[in-house]
Symmetry: D2
Subunit: 382 residues, 4 copies
C-alpha cells in the first residue's frame, strides 16, 4: 500500500529513490517497504509552534480547500475569519474552533492590527479586491499571503509590493502548484535535463464556466477573463518549467458573440511565449472549452508532463523517453497546507517566500502583454 514509511519523508529522498530505480514507492511494492520499515520507523516530532492565520473572504475556495487544510498543517492554525456574512463566519468559526471574538467584517478589518493572535492574513477575495485588502493587511502589521492573480493591474501589484516593504512585512502570492511535489518534480526534470534540454512547453487549462452572474464574469471584479483566473496557471508553469522570463508574446483571443458569460471578459485566449534560450511555449486558456489540465515539457528525446496538472488533488505525472512511457508515482500532499506552512516558515525564519509579490507582478506584466498582443495582432516584446 502506498504506505510511505513516514508521511514526513522528504521529497528529495523519495525522488532519489525513484530516480535510482531501487526502492519502491509504488502501490504494488509499498507494502514491502512498509513491512521492512517497521524496525526503523521514525516517530514524528511533536508539532512545533504554529502561526495564527486570518482568512479573508469565505467563498468556495476558503470553505472547501483552505479551512480544511489547516488539519494537515504543521506550522499554521486558523485563528480569525474576515467576512461580510456573519452567519457563515459564525458557523465556520464553530466548526474550526475559531474564537468568535476573532470574527471580523470588511469594515472593522483594520482593527485586526490589535489582535496578537493573528500573524498572517490570507486574502481569498475576488481579484479586484486583492490590492486593497493586502495593503490594509500589511499596514495592520500582518504578513500577507494573497491569492493569484496578485491583482488586476501592474500598478496595483507594485503598490502592494511597496506597501509590504514599507511595513516590513512578508508578501507571498499563492502559487499553490509551486508547493506541491508533482510540479516540483517537473522543475527538477527540467533543470536536471534528465531526458535532455526542454525545447518546447505546452500548457492547457480551462473549463466551461457556468453562471454568467458570478464575479469571474465581471470585468470590474475579475480584471479579465480566463487568462487572469485559469490561464495564469499555464503561464506561470511555462516560466517555472523553463526557469526563464519570456521576451516575446503572441496571442489570439475569441469570445462567442452573444454569450452572456463573455459579455465583459474573454472566453479563450491562446498564447505563445519565447524565452531567451530559445524555448518556445504554446498555451491554451479558456472559459468556454474543457481541455485536460496539462503542463508538458518536450525535449529532443521525449517529454514529461502533468495531467491533471493544477487540480487540488489527483495529479499524475508521466515521462516519455522515446520508446517507453512511465508514470511517476509521487505521494500526494495537501497543497494548501504546504503553501501555508511555507509562508509560516518564511515568517518564522525571516526568509523571502519562493513566490513573493515580485512573482505575481511578473505574471501581471506578461498577461498585460498577452492581452495587448491579442488586440493588436502583433508580437509584443517584453
Amino acid at each position: 500500500m502506498t504506505n510511505f514509511a513516514e508521511k514526513s519523508i522528504t521529497r528529495r529522498g523519495f525522488l532519489t529513490k525513484v530516480g535510482g530505480g531501487i526502492a519502491a514507492a509504488s502501490a504494488a511494492a509499498a507494502f514491502a517497504k512498509s513491512a521492512g520499515a517497521l524496525e526503523q520507523l521514525r516517530v514524528p516530532d511533536p508539532p512545533g509552534r504554529k502561526l495564527g492565520w486570518a482568512i479573508v473572504g469565505l467563498g468556495s475556495l476558503a470553505i472547501n480547500q483552505i479551512l480544511p487544510a489547516f488539519a494537515a498543517s504543521e506550522k499554521s492554525k486558523v485563528v480569525a475569519l474576515v467576512s461580510g456574512h456573519p452567519d457563515k463566519a459564525n458557523k465556520l468559526a464553530l466548526r474550526y474552533g475559531v474564537n468568535p471574538k476573532n470574527i471580523y467584517n470588511y469594515e472593522n478589518y483594520d482593527t485586526i492590527r490589535d489582535n496578537p493572535e493573528v500573524d498572517v492574513i490570507y486574502i481569498v477575495l475576488p481579484n479586484s479586491m486583492h490590492a486593497e485588502y493586502t495593503i490594509r493587511g500589511v499596514q495592520a502589521g500582518k504578513h500577507v499571503l494573497c491569492e493569484k492573480p496578485m491583482a488586476v493591474s501592474v500598478a496595483e501589484c507594485q503598490q502592494m509590493i511597496d506597501a509590504a516593504a514599507k511595513a516590513n512585512r512578508k508578501l507571498m502570492i499563492a502559487y499553490r502548484c509551486r508547493y506541491e511535489p508533482f510540479n516540483q518534480e517537473m522543475i527538477r526534470m527540467a533543470r536536471s535535463q534528465e531526458i535532455g534540454p526542454v525545447r518546447i512547453i505546452q500548457t492547457e487549462v480551462g473549463f466551461n464556466i457556468g453562471d454568467p452572474s458570478q464575479w469571474r464574469c465581471k470585468k470590474a471584479l475579475a480584471g479579465g477573463g480566463s487568462l487572469m483566473d485559469i490561464g495564469i496557471y499555464g503561464l506561470n508553469a511555462a516560466r517555472y518549467i523553463s526557469g526563464e522570463e519570456p521576451v516575446e508574446v503572441n496571442a489570439m483571443m475569441f469570445s462567442t458573440p452573444g454569450d452572456p458569460r463573455f459579455a465583459e471578459v474573454e472566453e479563450t485566449i491562446n498564447f505563445q511565449l519565447r524565452f531567451p534560450s530559445g524555448v518556445l511555449a504554446n498555451g491554451i486558456s479558456s472559459y468556454g472549452a474543457s481541455p485536460r489540465s496539462h503542463f508538458q515539457a518536450i525535449t529532443p528525446r521525449g517529454f514529461f508532463e502533468l495531467q491533471p496538472a493544477n487540480n487540488y488533488t489527483g495529479l499524475r505525472m508521466y515521462v516519455n523517453r522515446g520508446n517507453i512511457s512511465e508514470e511517476v508515482m509521487i505521494e500526494p500532499v495537501d497543497h494548501f497546507a504546504k503553501e501555508m506552512d511555507h509562508m509560516s516558515g518564511c515568517v518564522m525564519e525571516n526568509k523571502t517566500p519562493l513566490t513573493p509579490g515580485e512573482e505575481g507582478l511578473r505574471d501581471l506584466k506578461i498577461m498585460t502583454a498577452i492581452y495587448q498582443a491579442a488586440q493588436s495582432g502583433a508580437t509584443i516584446k517584453l
Copy 2:
C-alpha cells in the same frame, strides 16, 4: 480542479451524477462545477461530539496511518495510547495532544476501564495478540475496533465475539476497504448489474516481503503467511463483490525452499472459490511476488476493477463495457478516518457495525479451509 463543491458531498449523490453522465466530477470539468457551485456553497456543520479512542500498539500502521487520520475524523479523537515503549508513546502523545496520564503499557492496560475519556479501543497489534487485547478491552468496558485478520484461529474469533456480547460492547473488525468509496462503488456496480451479472472475480494482492525477522514471518505472532496478512483483502473482496459466502475452495501453496522469510509462514497461496450462485473466484496472495493490487469483477458484457485496489491512497477504478474502457473518478477520502468514524457512529447510535466480529470470523473459517485445501490437494466444502 477536483474541487468537489463540498468535501462532505455524499457518495450517493456523486455517483448518481457520474452514472447519469451529466455532471462532471472530473479533473477536467471540476473547475466549472466549482465555479458554478459558488452561489450554492454549503457551509459545513460544526463538528459534533467526538468519541475518545485509545490506540493499542504503536507500530508503522498506527504511526503512519491511524494517528494522522484523526485530523480528518468527524466523530473520533485520540485520547490514549497503549505501548510497550514509553519513549515512543510519550513523543507521540506530545505530537497528537494526548494527555500523558493516558499513556498505558501492556501491564496496566486493564486499568483503562477507569478512564472515562476512552470510549473505543483500536487494536493494532500483531495478529496473535488480537484476541487477548480485544477480550481485555471489552472486559474493561470499552468498544473495540480490531485490525484484520481478526485473530489467528476460528476459536479465538468466537471467544472475542462471545466476550463482546457478554460485555455488551461493540466489536468491529477493521476491514478498511469497506469504508472507502472505490470499493463501495465496486459493490454498487455488482449489485446494480449495470454491465450485467458478475460471473468471475479475480483478486491479486501481495508484495515481496523484506526482513525475515519481522513478526509477519513468525508463525507464532502472525498465525500464517501472506494469506493472513494480505491475501485476506482479496478473499474479503471476493465476498463483498459477489455478496455471497463461498461453498467450496481449492488452493495451491508454494514457499521457496531455504528462503529464511518463509521458514515458518507460506510465501504464495493461490486460491479458487465457488459461490452458491455459480460465481467463481481466482485469488493470488503472495509474500514473494509483486502483483498489482487488483480486484476485478467480470460479467458477460465486460468488467470493472480497482487497481490499485487496497492501498491506503491512490486507488483507481476502471469499467470496461466491451468496446470502451472508462476510468471512474471518485474523490478520495482518508480510509482510516472513515473507518473510525463508522465505529464511533455505531457506538453513538447503538448500531451494529458493517463489519462486526462475525465478518472476521467468516474469513478465518475460509482461510482455514484454504490452508486445508492447499495441504490436502482436495476441494474443501464449506
Copy 3:
C-alpha cells in the same frame, strides 16, 4: 511514424535496441529514425521460393484471417482449397487466384496427393475433424499445419503424430501466439529474468459466446467448451512463459443451468497449475464472461503482461518495475503469415517446427487433467 527502417528488421535487433534504451522504435521517435535511416536503407531481397498451401475448411478464420495473410507471407502461397461448399470455394478461388482445378471437397480430398502444387495442408476444421483430416493429409504425402486444439482426445493426438512420423511428413500445431513478437517478448523477459524470476502466472481469456447452434457449443464437434477453444491459449501461455511442464492441476467449472449454449459444453473453467520450479499459475477460461485478454507474469520486483494477449491484432505489452510502468512498443506483424512461413521454412530446411504435434498432445493431456480436476474436486498430478 512507426516506420521501422525496414520491415524485415529482426526481432532480436529491435528488442536489443529497446532494451538498451538507445534507439527509438516508438511512435514518437520513429520519424527521426526513418529520416536518419534514409541513407542506409536496405532494399528487401527478392521473394524466395514459396511453398504451395491448401486450406481445408472455409469458415470465418480461413476467410477473414488466413487467406488474406498470404499477401504478407514470404514463403507461402495459397494454391488449393478444400470445402464442402463449391460456391464459396469458387468465389474465394477467384479472389485469391487459386486455379479452379485445385478446388477439392471432403470426398475427393485424398486425391490431393496427386497435386504437386500442394506442399502443405492447413486444417481449419471443427476440432473433432482435426485428427481425420490431418491423418488423411499426411497419408496423401503432404505436410500438415493443424489448428489448435490439436484434436479432441489424447489418443487422437498420438495417432496424428504416429501417422505423420510414418509418412515422414512435418506436423505442426497452429499455436499462433508463438510466432508473433509480443508473446515472444514475454518469453524473452521470462528467460532473461530482467525483472527477476517469474513466480506467478495469471491468464484470463474468454468471451460471451453467441448462437447456441454453432459447432463450438456441440460436444461432438468441439470436444469441449471454453477450455478447448479459448482457455487453451492461457494454458499454453503459462507453459511457454514458465518454460516448464505443469505437475499438478486444480480446477473449478460452472455452466449456467438452463442456458442452451452450455447444454453440452462447459461455460467457465478456472484452473490452477503448479510447475516443478514452484511457479504457480491461475487461469480463467470462459464462454460466459468477457475478461480482458490477458497474460501476466509476476516476479518479486514487478510484473510484465500482454493485454490484449491473444487477439489477431492490437496486442499491447506493459512492464511494471515496482515504481514505474512502461508500455513496450513492438512493431506488429501478421500472425498467420509468420506462422505459415515458419511451417514453410521447416519444410524447406527439414527442421522440426517450434510447435510440433507433441506440443498439441501436451496441452490435450493437461486439459484432460483440468476437466478431471474440476469433476473430481481433487488435485490431479501429471
Copy 4:
C-alpha cells in the same frame, strides 16, 4: 480476438455500432462476434480491375511503406519503377514482380507515356522535385498522386494544377491521414458535435532529426524545415477537423544557433490559427524536439484526440466526456493501400479525389503565411 467478421466491413457500420454502444468490436469482445458471425460470414468479392502504378523515387517511404502496401490494395498494382539507381530498381522489380522493361530513370521518364500498363504515377521525391515530375507525369498522359507537401511554393502548386487540368488528368495530393479511419473518426466526431462544438484544436508533431546531410535539411531540396515536412500534418488536421479555412495566423520560430541540421531550414515553428467560426488552433512543429504525435479537438464538454495521430500504424483514439475517458477501438487499415485505392477509384469512376491539387495549394498558402508571421512578428490575415 479482433476478428472483425469480415475485413471489408464498412467504417460506417462499425462506427455506428461503436456509437450505439451495442456491439463489440473490442479486443475483449470480438471473439464472441467472430463466433456469432460464423453463420453469416460473407465471402469477399473477387478482386476487380486494378490500375497500374509507377512509383517515382525509391527512398525509404517507397521501399518500406508504399511498395509493401500494394499487397493490401484492391484496385492498384505496381507495374513500373522510376529511379536513378538501376541496381535498387532491379532488385525491387524482382521482389515486387515488376517487368524489368518497366524500369525507368529520370532521363527517360517521359517515355512512360508510351507504356499503356501505367495508369497512375506516384511521386515520392524530395519536395523541390514534386512540381517538375508531376507536370512531366500529367504531360505524359498519366494521372498523378503526389506526396505532401505538394511543392515548395504556391506558384509551383498552381502550375501543377494547371498542367493537370490542361492534360485532363487527375491530380491528388497524398494526405494519407484522410484515408485512414482514426482521422476520419475525428472528423465525424467534430461534424456530429457529439460532445459539443469544437472550440480549440491543438496539434503536436515533430521529431529530433538526424543526419544534417539529408535532403530534409537542405533548403533547395526541401523548400523549408519542419513545417513543410511534418508540421503540415498538424496544419492539415486543424483544417479538416474544423472543416474551415483559417483567416489569421501567428507564429514563432526557433533554430538552435550553430546546429548544422538547422543551417538552412527551421527547427521549430509553432503556430496559431483563427478560423471564421471562432475556432482557434495551436500547433507545434519541430525537427528538434520529440512531442507525442497528437491531434486534439476541445469542446465545452470535453475533448477527443488521436495519439499517435499521424504514424503509419498504431494510431489510438480517446474521447473525454468530462468525467470519463474512453479509448475508441477501430480496426486499423493499411493507410497507403487505402490512399492509392482512393486514387484508382477516382480515375476509374472519373471523380475528383478528396484531396486534389487545390488542397495542397491551400496548405502551401497557409504555410507561406506562417513563415511570414514568424519572420514579421505580426498576425497575417489570409
